[in-house]
Amino acid sequence: YDDPQGLVEKSEILLREWVRLYATQGSPKDSSKAFSSFIHELNSSGILKNDDVITRFFRICVQCCINQVYQGLQAGPMNLIRSKCYQSVDALVRLVALLIRHIGDSPTPKVNLMNKFLGIVAGILIQEHELQKTDFQQLPFHRMFMMLFYDLNTQDQVFETISMQILTGFSNTLHILNPIKVPGFAYAWLEIIGNRLFIARMLALASEQKCWAMYCQLILDLFRFLFPFLRNAELAKPVATLYRGTLRVLLVILHDFPDFLCDYCYHFLDAIPPNCIQMRNLVLSAFPRNMRLPDPFTANLKFEMLADTAMPPRILSNVGAMIQPASFKKDLDSYLKARGPVTFLSELRTNLQVTNEPGTRYNIPLINALVLYVGSQHIQVIRSRNQTPNMSTIAHTSHMDIFQNLAVDLDTEGRYLFLNALANQLRFPSSHTHYFSLVILYLFAHSNTEDVQEQITRVLLERLVVNRPHPWGLLVTFIELIKNPTYKFWQHEFVHCAPEVEKLFESVARSCM
């Protein structure tokens, strides 16, 4: 770093002086008195001379605090050195917050200084993570980010004016420090994005939901890290701890911000492993806060009776753009419009396949996007004829050709993913839940092999037998399947293939009745 001669020593002396002032001349919330005297010392020491010196000063101070932890760890367990280490960290962070507050009048230098400090901490964190390997200590970095977040989110006029930049700065930094990048920081990382003040600022207080997309990005980072470990379902303790913590955060979001889960559901479904049924159900069970769900067990409940069925769910992603490559999308649109090229159906499976490795053969996000796109297009076409989706209006159409082709032509793995993509649409009452419920029941009724009917049943059942919550649309669809004699459900052999399976169906049927 070629620090100027003596800068390290000078910075360490200044930091120690500031820590003393912070501890003696202030309270956990207010250090303005200490700052008004210390700022002159900083200035006269040349620290505020220019950008480069301030950057070096910050880096040296952060490194000091971190080194204190590693030195302290020789002395004793983390608990003992927490208070000592945190005193320095809290003091340093307070100094940074006060410098941000008082630097210049316009927002720009404040935001730049904040991002500079966040970047320095992130850089040192990544470097320590690589150097220390399994000795890496997450807690001082966690403390630094958390306390700076508190200090910059106090009710202070100056910070209020840059609140969006503060939230953006933290979100970007946490996205850079995502668990895949620095797995040794994963617990601290989740502790930060699951912190009550962080959730409040990102999801509740930021006006017009401006931070929702950034928070969605952070949740996706977490799912992407968990994916390979959850995919195999044997959870080693460290992963089980992270998974349990994830469920707790998602439950708070489900309870307090269901619309967030509704809006970003399609993003999350691509990132949740297909065998992670309960967490997926949790996301799918969210329904808009102002919506009242009819009891799914209401006798003779019909979608058509529900006003909400007329409306599509909010979809924030550009589904069409997710269908790649462009040539495939072009053929798809052409087939939907004119049922040509005729080779489209026979080539469909190849377009969805990515490897020949069992268990990873298919492009799951592409299957999800294809199902959602074809279904959305179909609803529009039906509506354009002033009709509503029902068993006859969805039949014998190019859209249903595609679904029936996928049901018949795909292998077990591919069909499982396809049926899951359909079942993922079974959420709160909406035109999509209604339409895809019809598609699933139509495929069940018109399939020419019992395999498809059995697999449809498996896909629905495995979502019902896990602990709650269960999406409304899933319950309504399954109840229709077992109650409506049109589907001859109880006559199928697989329903009676084993006493415990039969008992399971009867118990589910009883709870449904």
């Binding site: 945190y86 399994t134 895949i180 069992p358 499982y416």
Partner: protein, 148 residues
């Protein structure tokens, strides 16, 4: 049909780092300011002690059931927290007033004889902050005195 998929090399590394960091998990107190008084130090109490805060313990109803002394204790020891805010709210409901200059809680002992812009003359009981100032935990008693 989605059988297990073997973890790649980078996943193994990620797991090792995750596992190593699981030996020093962040505690809830790591996300809270350090307390000058009553710092939050987790302590392994017998499992039959209530391990979690009572539900609704952060509501006004709960605080209304606390004694005056307890409310003073919370007000002065837990500065800047929701507990201090709730304690102050309940004290006011029980006709205590906080004098910002002396930082003392006063309560009328009888109807004041004289009331004007500057003051109300009468007898009050108040909580003696000087005694409190020593903040000696042991042998601490609350003293009330009549203030003419």
């Amino acid at each position: 049909p989605m059988g297990p998929v073997p973890l790649g090399k980078d996943h193994q590394h990620q797991f090792q780092m995750l596992e190593a960091s699981s030996y020093h998990m962040p505690l809830p107190s790591d996300s809270e300011r350090m307390r000058q008084f009553l710092p939050r130090n987790p302590f392994p109490t017998p499992h039959y002690y209530p391990q979690n805060p009572l539900t609704n313990s952060d509501t006004l109803e709960f605080f209304q059931r606390l004694s005056i002394e307890t409310l003073f204790f919370i007000f002065y020891y837990l500065e800047g927290t929701k507990a201090q805010y709730l304690a102050a709210k309940v004290l006011k409901k029980q006709s205590w007033r906080f004098h910002t200059k002396y930082m003392m809680w006063f309560q009328r002992h009888e109807e004041p004889k004289v009331i004007n812009e500057e003051y109300e003359q009468g007898t009050y009981i108040y909580f003696d902050i000087e005694k409190w100032g020593q903040r000696k935990k042991d042998g601490f008693v609350f003293e009330y005195r009549y203030l003419e």
